[in-house]
């Protein structure tokens, strides 16, 4: 902000200091719950609650993590979640691109009609039960497909992507590719997509995180435990206080020890299930500005 000519007065300096102090305190408040969970997950379960706040792991231990490896529900859930997320996101991006690209083309006949056709769904929906009945009629309840196909398209994301294409792919480029004899399909593959890494990365993040974090669809559409994604297992562990298949061993004198192990499992499983998202985050983060911001303003 106008550094060269700007000479801060006293009031301005006070403003800056106050602003930064408040923001740093705020950031620490946002961050602390996450730090607490990470610390607790590496702590010795008998010592976690010696004092209320954990600033570092107390009595280092990996028990919580070894406990995860012994829990079949979590492992299967993790595998299922990876499958649903990867397949689902690929379908999401394909369907979104196939809608966004034609709509971004200058002079695309029927653009107005198609746009209205899509946007209506942003304001009106059938609701829970009618949607459930559709999936039931399609016969995809309790199958992999119900986790992939419904929700394949977010109209909001499609409009973001269309706007990105419009603003970042010069129409001269498209015209000259035409002159060189490329068809619409080749244009999409060879010209548009290679220029659209930022928006595709951002879309992959949005859709992917949504898929990875969703428990609702799995809860209402899946009945077989072997198909449950991680979030549904997490719900049992974190919200309902159940521990899947290890809980049968909870008998007699070993129970106190078991209870403690389960306590650390709660923390370690939070870390493990959030890690994939947080690893992906820095990779995509640099595209946020280009991807979202460009699209969002004039969306």
């Amino acid at each position: 902000m106008a550094k060269a000519i700007y000479k801060p007065g006293k009031a301005d300096k006070a403003f800056d200091v106050a602003n930064i102090v408040i923001l740093i305190v705020f950031t620490l408040i946002v961050l602390y719950p996450i730090i607490f969970v990470v610390n607790a997950s590496f702590s010795d379960p008998t010592k976690i609650f010696d004092t209320p706040l954990l600033l570092w792991p107390r009595g280092f231990s990996l028990d919580g993590y070894t406990e995860i490896l012994k829990n079949k529900d979590i492992l299967v859930g993790f595998k299922n979640a990876v499958i649903y997320t990867v397949l689902g996101t690929v379908v999401n991006i394909a369907v979104t691109t196939l809608g966004a690209y034609p709509l971004s083309r200058k002079g695309f006949e029927g653009k107005g009609f198609f746009t209205i056709f899509f946007t209506i769904t942003m304001f009106f929906s059938g609701g829970l039960i009618p949607t459930y009945l559709v999936n039931q009629q399609l016969g995809i309840v309790n199958t992999l497909w119900v986790m992939i196909l419904p929700g394949a398209l977010s109209v909001y994301n499609m409009i973001l992507m269309r706007t990105y294409f419009q603003q970042n792919i010069p129409s001269e480029l498209i015209e000259s590719a035409y002159v060189d004899g490329a068809n619409d399909m080749q244009l999409l593959w060879k010209v548009v997509l290679p220029l659209s890494t930022p928006i595709i990365a951002v879309m992959a993040m949005f859709y992917g995180v949504g898929r990875w974090n969703d428990y609702f669809n799995a809860m209402i559409y899946l009945q077989d435990r072997s198909k449950f994604p991680l979030q549904l297992i997490l719900r049992e562990i974190l919200v309902q206080g159940q521990f899947g298949d290890t809980s049968q061993a909870l008998i007699g004198s070993a129970s106190a020890q078991m209870m403690l192990l389960k306590l650390t499992l709660k923390y370690s499983v939070v870390v493990v299930s959030t890690l994939p998202v947080l690893l992906f985050y820095p990779v995509v983060q640099k595209y946020f500005e280009k991807g979202i911001m460009v699209g969002a303003i004039k969306g």
């Binding site: 923001l23 946002v30 969970v37 809608g99 059938g126 009945l133 559709v134 196909l149 947080l278």
Partner: protein, 318 residues
């Protein structure tokens, strides 16, 4: 009366226009094949359920199907309006969404303005990056973390309270505290990410406006008030309109996970009620009626607020 040649010219113009369009469609067949795919998805999973909403006016039975089930008019709606739950559920929904509207619309704006005033670049981007993170954490984990912190047994906050000689507070099982827990956990998760659209809008403000203001001796607050806020006003209006359009849509996912027997008197909202009546009790038609009612109210709110925005300023959704 127009003479015949004019009419003919007009007709042939129209025909030419149509031929031109047809030519375009034929030449760009693949574009239409592409867009056909998202259209099929939208027809199946958006428009088909919209048709299915008619079961709200029928007594749906799987044996007869959607079309074959007998019409019953507004029976399910009247039953809902007269039911013991109606007032309670509506009031709970409104309380949470209005509370959350009041808090979650202005806070990201204030935060974004504060971000914008940081001159140390690395500090700014570090703070932004950290405050975005909670947005990517799943609701299941958010509710799990609420339990870690606010649980009555070994909850961090209650341990602190007890350490200082206080008495443990039942945060999770209290119907009075539930709306606060719901709204502020949402703020923790979403406020940082919520700044993004405003930051985007601010990045479009030309720097020389600030320079000129400083030269004339404007203070920081004056710059914020007279340059930054007017520039992000359209974004603020759009966000506010969209937020009011969700007044009846208190999200199912988190509410359901935070619900328990002791806070149900404030935590039962339209979305959780629809779920329980429909998928748990199997009253499909009744539940569809409740869902349709809530969608309708949402749209009316959106429409009214949008009209109001059109009337007062020059920014609106359509």
């Amino acid at each position: 009366m127009p003479n015949t040649t004019e009419v003919k010219v007009e007709q042939s113009d129209k025909r030419k226009e149509r031929a031109k369009r047809w030519h375009y469609v034929k030449r760009h067949k693949s574009l239409y094949l592409m867009i056909l795919i998202p259209i099929i998805f939208v027809i199946i999973w958006n428009y088909w359920p919209m048709y299915g909403v008619i079961i709200a006016f029928k007594d749906y039975s799987p044996a007869y199907g959607i079309w074959g089930s007998p019409w019953v008019g507004f029976k399910h709606f009247t039953r809902f309006f007269q039911s013991y739950f109606f007032g309670n559920v509506i009031w709970n929904t409104l309380r949470i969404s209005i509370y959350s509207l009041i808090v979650s619309v202005p806070l990201p704006i204030i935060l974004a303005l504060m971000f914008n005033e940081i001159r140390v670049k690395w500090l700014k981007s570090t703070i932004q990056t950290i405050t975005y993170i909670p947005n990517f954490i799943s609701v299941v984990i958010i509710v799990g973390m609420i339990n870690f912190f606010f649980g009555s047994q070994n909850g961090v906050i209650n341990n602190l309270v007890e350490m200082f000689g206080g008495k443990s507070i039942d945060f999770l099982g209290s119907s009075g505290i539930f709306p606060h827990m719901y709204v502020w956990s949402g703020i923790w998760q979403g406020v940082g990410w919520g700044t993004l659209i405003y930051t985007a809008a601010m990045s479009g403000i030309p720097q020389d406006q600030y320079e000129a203001a400083y030269l004339e001796g404007a203070s920081r607050f004056q710059c914020i008030k007279n340059i930054t806020i007017p520039a992000i006003m359209p974004t603020i209006v759009i966000s506010a309109i969209l937020a009011t359009g969700g007044i009846m849509a208190v999200g199912f996912d988190k509410t359901f996970l935070m619900q328990n027997a002791s806070n149900l008197s404030t935590s039962e909202v339209l979305s959780t009620y629809t779920y329980k009546m429909g998928l748990v009790n199997g009253e499909y038609s009744f539940s569809a009626a409740v869902g349709l009612f809530s969608n309708l109210i949402n749209f009316i709110f959106l429409w009214v607020v949008n009209k109001f925005a059109q009337h007062v300023g020059d920014t609106s959704l359509w």
